[in-house]
Symmetry: C2
Subunit: 239 residues, 2 copies
DNA sequence: CATTGTGAAGCGTTTCACAGCC
DNA sequence: GGCTGTGAAACGCTTCACAATG
């Protein structure tokens, strides 16, 4: 039987998919859809239906057999589990290209986050406006974090400034860091860190781009038609 | 025994770590370090040493027992396997905040990619400069892609324009897409897609932030000292 | 009777532990 | 002696297949 509380730990893989289900469900709710099957949700989220059911079963059993899930209820469940009952204030360190773009990024609205401050080391930038925010000095980080009750920081500095930024964020009391700088950060165990390295993403893509022909032979035998074809294919010394 | 060619398929988990090893190794090379042990590389990359050895063994056996790996050789091996022997030209669709920031992002240099074009639907933007690039019309996408030999496209459009952008990229002959728009894209099987959804990253962080206390009880029993403590802890109805 | 919820099987990844080798 | 390379064990995630059920 499934758990009915919401205090438990979810499998990591499930946690990383819940945000996608949530986003898809929100879209459906906006379109007036009020029920959805695991199959339907799976299709929209780009995953397999059994996976959806297993994921959702970890939140407790809230579907109706023969019918499906109540979209609204599911949204509330997932929001609650992810800690999105209320918005999280977020602070950005680094007011360069990327930092400013993130500060103005509309994609956070309605998804649980609000950028409430942006700081930089450069005293020339301090005082400058970025959208509705004013760039603050990184020296006031501690005050800003406690005044605004911030627990999530985004690092958008150049690589060589990232370690310092992380250290300052941790010292200021931030407990979660989203790092865009291409460096491996070290942080105390009580601080969560996620890295988004754009070059890494592209490198993974380029690997697959380069090796795609092999994949297809393996994944879609119908494209190479027969064992014989596959052997010919290999004999060509492909790639 | 290990493979000695470089045509084989690597485990997906290995592929996603090679870029990190590569980055760390490049830094080491710059500092004049020419040998490194699996332990040393593991430390710098933030992973476990056995994992490093297994990952590298998939590239063939190129370490020296009792000594370690030759940094330079390893860099060449990984570069080659990831398809980074030469730079990849990259095109960005969407010249908004994020698109422009990505176009000016310095982090791609020396990591195998060069942004060679940026396009937008908005005719007011077309002709405007973004750094050393001029924004082109999305209608010339096909020509641009073939003239510049582009196979990787980045989608940095608003959500509602992303599906169209993807379709146009595919039609133009692009075979890999890095998507920053918060939508689930559908693409033919021969096209690789990776999604970077900033709100999703933050939501995963917020989940862990919210549930951290539980994790620590589970992961670091020494912090809660004893079974008795853990029971007390639970009895408090934490979270 | 369509659809959920879930044991159980299958797979890929991680980690261990040590033989093999320089 | 120190470090790699790798079988084998352990683990977590995915998928299957179907009993449970509104």
């Amino acid at each position: 039987m499934a758990r009915d509380d919401t205090t438990g730990q979810l499998p990591e893989a499930t946690v990383s998919r819940l945000p996608i289900y949530l986003h898809v469900l929100s879209t459906q709710a906006t379109n007036g859809i009020d029920r959805i099957s695991s199959e339907g949700l799976a299709e929209l989220a780009g995953v397999n239906a059994a996976k959806v059911r297993k994921d959702l079963s970890h939140l407790g059993s809230h579907g109706t057999r023969g019918v499906g899930y109540a979209v609204d209820h599911l949204i509330r469940q997932i929001r609650h589990e992810l800690g999105l009952d209320h918005d999280w204030p977020v602070l950005i360190v680094g007011a360069g290209n990327l930092g400013q773009a993130l500060a103005g990024y509309g994609g956070f609205d309605n998804r649980g986050f609000r950028v409430v401050a942006i700081v930089d080391v450069d005293s020339d930038k301090v005082g400058t406006r970025v959208g509705r925010l004013t760039i603050e000095s990184i020296d006031r980080l501690g005050e800003t974090v406690s005044e605004l009750g911030i627990s999530i920081g985004i690092i958008a500095t150049p690589p060589n400034a990232a370690a310092d930024a992380a250290e300052r964020l941790v010292a200021a009391g931030v407990t979660s860091i989203l790092n865009f700088a291409p460096v491996v950060l070290s942080a105390p165990r009580h601080v969560g860190v996620r890295n988004v390295d754009l070059a890494v993403e592209l490198q993974i893509l380029s690997y697959h781009d380069l090796h795609r022909i092999n994949h297809q032979a393996a994944i879609e035998p119908n494209l190479v038609a027969s064992d014989t074809d596959e052997i010919q294919f290999k004999a060509l010394g492909f790639r």
